[in-house]
Symmetry: C2
Subunit: 196 residues, 2 copies
Amino acid sequence: MPRPKTIDRTAILAAALDVADADGVPAVSMHSIAKRLAVTPMALYRHVANKADLLDGIVELLMAEIMADVPAPGPAAERDAWLDALIRIADRARAVASRHPAAFTLLLSRPAASAAAREVRAHIHDLLRQAGVGGDHVERLERIVTTTVLGMAAGQASQRFAHHPPGVLDEDVRALATFVTAGIEPFRTPAEKACP
Amino acid sequence: MPRPKTIDRTAILAAALDVADADGVPAVSMHSIAKRLAVTPMALYRHVANKADLLDGIVELLMAEIMADVPAPGPAAERDAWLDALIRIADRARAVASRHPAAFTLLLSRPAASAAAREVRAHIHDLLRQAGVGGDHVERLERIVTTTVLGMAAGQASQRFAHHPPGVLDEDVRALATFVTAGIEPFRTPAEKACP
DNA sequence: ACCTGAACACCGTTCAAGT
DNA sequence: ACCTGAACACCGTTCAAGT
């Protein structure tokens, strides 16, 4: 006579994200999550392999949240559509970072091997190809661009740049877009380059 | 009759870095460090405020190691000297990251407010000014460049990019240099720009 | 001044047991 | 199948005590 299921992996990850948002990543523990779900710590091990798996689950959740509502890249409907799409993903990353400032740091400290992470990578590969980036540079450039965008979002959200005056964030975002766009330029096929 | 001093902050931080290198950041604990120093955990609290202070100390150590042997920027002895200097700092960051892959992640998750961190920042500010970056963009661009360089070094060292084929690291480094150089370009004064 | 010892609430994870 | 309970070694940090 099997018991009714009271928790599942989704509920556990959601609770973990709640704890991280409320009390920081160090407060994320099997005990604290279990308490929040009104369950014994050991009950979690039926749905989560161990704590590392749990943290990776949070990363997966954040990645999925970044990609939510981002349409798959069409066949380059308009010229420079790739740039708009890239900026939209960066904006979403910033939004997610400000909603989950503490948890967001995990994105840079853990390998991004989940399905959601691979989806984000594949998406950006497509965009870079549309931008005319040569095949052997696509993955390399994706790593660089992703690191820069996620790193800046994490840094702003987690107060790593606490020393700099607030209120200039908009300008920071614009500068980042300019930086990334110009940084990609040398990797695009000559046909796309312009020099007035 | 005061006791002879058996440990100091420097020894504690060195031991902490050893533990992180050997067994990962999660293994860095007051107990594990104390055991390594043949001392009671409580003995550490005379030299370190708490665990957060200890982790910040590791960041300080890594920053100092990055800046070791990097000469202060002279008055722009040669044109494009700034680029060589910037690349040298990035190379040193990569070297430190590969020596301390686990601990290096801390650089991106904790505020860089130590004296050593401020020194690195000031150094890069000077280099960017030499490159002709306008005053109101210098700090902004330093944050972007630092995030990109440290983020890539951390990602490579900590296997965050484990999915990509090994052995292409040299090409990755060259691409990163190209990307950063081109990304800075739009922020330089018109006099320095060239367009064949 | 500097370190020890005992103690606290908390942590990840195990094993065996209950329904 | 799913959860509980007791137990383990470990964790950060306190307080009072030793030299």
